[in-house]
């Protein structure tokens, strides 16, 4: 420790010029070096390390009731914490290639909505992503419906009814059930007028691409969260791709009828049928054809892969 020699004749390099306090510049330099070293160590260590996720992850609380009791009045904040963890959990899981189980998704959402029963975003997130089949989600529409039913119980907002109907429609292919829920949704206060029409359409031509398209479009326009909009856009593009595939299939069939074989390249088909160009899907990736069966699909490289399953009922 150097004695701090101070007098008016010394210009000490401290923050206040004539203060006589020990200078800080050296300390800053030392701290900067140490911080750089610490960051370096972290980077090296992190290369071989992921936080350990035990097979059955330990969520200490599994019951919403217990969580409510323990939150001691801070329900809203704890609910927010669970929500943040949900988002990060889901995002983290999607990133990890090797293991894509989403076992904790429902409990996390369950906790978040138990603590804040009017957490609309959480319910709707659950509706979308709990239903989604692997690798994008756990493929549990029943969990989604269970979650939404609590929303219905607590809040009764028309959006929850619509979402339940949606899950029935899109994931369970239960068009009668979906139409029923859409009808119920239409009776709720504040419900938009198109819901009645949607109920009717679903009942009549459930499974048709038009009703699907209408559903997703409404969702896109009414969504209040960007990821819901993202999903809706994604689905609409997939529907467009399916439309394009139908037209391409027709062209392909015409070619086969005429030539008696499959075209060897896309270019051949383009020339023969006078198509505008090599067919690309709405994401800009060229379609692929299965040489044996002749079915056209989006490329596995495309962000639109896999296309949703579509039963041919009602077409």
């Amino acid at each position: 420790m150097s004695p701090s020699t101070w007098s008016t004749t010394h210009a000490s390099p401290s923050l206040k010029a004539s203060d006589g306090r020990p200078p800080v510049s050296r300390a800053f330099a030392v701290i900067a070096v140490l911080l750089a070293a610490a960051i370096g160590v972290q980077v090296v260590r992190d290369r071989g390390w992921q936080p350990y996720q035990p097979e059955s992850a330990i969520l200490w609380l599994r019951s919403g009731g217990a969580a409510k009791r323990l939150a001691l009045g801070f329900d809203m904040i704890v609910s927010d914490v669970y929500w943040i963890r949900t988002v990060i959990y889901y995002g983290g899981r999607r990133r990890v290639e090797t293991r894509r189980t989403y076992d904790e998704l429902f409990p996390l959402l369950d906790l978040a909505t138990s603590l804040d029963p009017q957490f609309k975003v959480a319910y709707r997130f659950g509706a979308l992503f709990l239903s989604e089949p692997p690798p994008g989600g756990p493929g549990r529409p029943d969990q989604a419906i269970a979650l939404l039913e609590r929303g219905v119980e607590q809040d009764g907002d028309w959006e929850y009814y619509e979402d339940i109907g949606f899950v029935h429609y899109w994931w369970k292919h239960d068009y009668v059930g979906a139409a029923e829920w859409f009808r119920k949704a239409a009776t709720r206060p504040g419900a938009p007028s198109w819901l009645t029409g949607l109920a009717a359409t679903t009942l009549a031509v459930g499974g048709s691409r038009e009703s699907s398209r209408q559903l997703w479009t409404e969702l896109l326009n009414g969504a209040d969260a960007s990821y819901i909009q993202g999903q809706a856009k994604h689905r609409l593009l997939q529907l467009d791709a399916m439309d394009a595939i139908d037209q391409l299939s027709a062209s392909l069939q015409r070619f086969r009828d005429r030539e008696g074989r499959m075209p060897r390249t896309w270019q051949e088909l383009v020339t023969a049928e006078r198509l505008p160009g090599v067919p690309v899907d709405p994401a800009g990736v060229p379609f692929v054809v299965d040489g044996v069966t002749g079915t056209i699909d989006v490329s596995k490289q495309s962000p639109l892969w896999p296309l949703p399953a579509e039963p041919k009922v009602g077409r």
Binding site: M1, P3, S4, W6, S7, T8, S18, D19, G20
Partner: protein
Amino acid sequence: MPAIETEGLTKDYLVGFWRPRPYRALDALTLSVEAGEVFGFLGPNGAGKSTTLKLLMQLIFPTRGSARILGSPVGDVSVRRRIGFLAENPYYYDYLTAEELLTYFARLFGYSSSDARTRVARVLDDVGLGRERRLRLRQFSKGMVQRVGLAQALLNDPEVVFLDEPMSGLDPLGRRAVRDLILSLRARGCTVFFSSHILSDAEALCDRVAIVAQGKLVAAGRLDELLAFELQGWELVMSGVPAALHAQLASRFAKVTPLSHDRVTVTLPAEAEPDRVMAALSADGARIESLNPIRHTLEDLFLQRVRESQPRDIGV
């Protein structure tokens, strides 16, 4: 080489939350204290005495100026081996006993455990706490804590001792003890620098004093120099002066105050020559009890200088 010297020592504090303004607690203090002196640093409350002591101990940092102790700048940690310090209203760890506390400090000075033991015993006896050495400080009275403070200031046989209000909290016995202690320190050649607002102590003990008021130095120098030219008059106590003579005395001299029996106090102005008066009065049959010069006391000087330093518009 002076034991203590300061040059232009200034301390500003920033006061106020929204727009802090500097409050000058000490303004360009320049003084020096020679080795072996007992130096009294006097002033009313809030004058800057504690600020000065803290600057000397580098508990706070000056805004401007410098100070040296035993030739080294005040920041020098090694100089602290040769000095002692007693804070105002000191507080030490109350879960320790007096002995434990002093032993801890002694070890900090670098003494071995056996050395420390002897020293601790000695200083505790010096300040009169020999019997209470094993009691926890929690159980000490204010005066006892003050004495512990003195003890820890003397552990290392310092060359310079700094005392901030050493008499505060002590009863007359305690104050007498401290006075004797300071005198014995001077006898040992130790420099004593103490701050006080009790002037009688300063008068009795100090070789030199400095008076500060409102952060400024308003007087400094040897006591006898400061007060030398302040002779006010003479006080003559006589007995055997019959009452009849009082009026006559009064007409010739400034003041006559009768005391018990037939004793009077005659107050003569400074110009008067007391021996002639005494001779004249004895001739009349009076007996002289005592003759004392009325000096300007330190208190008078103090009040005068402090009042001078105060801004006009504050009525005191």
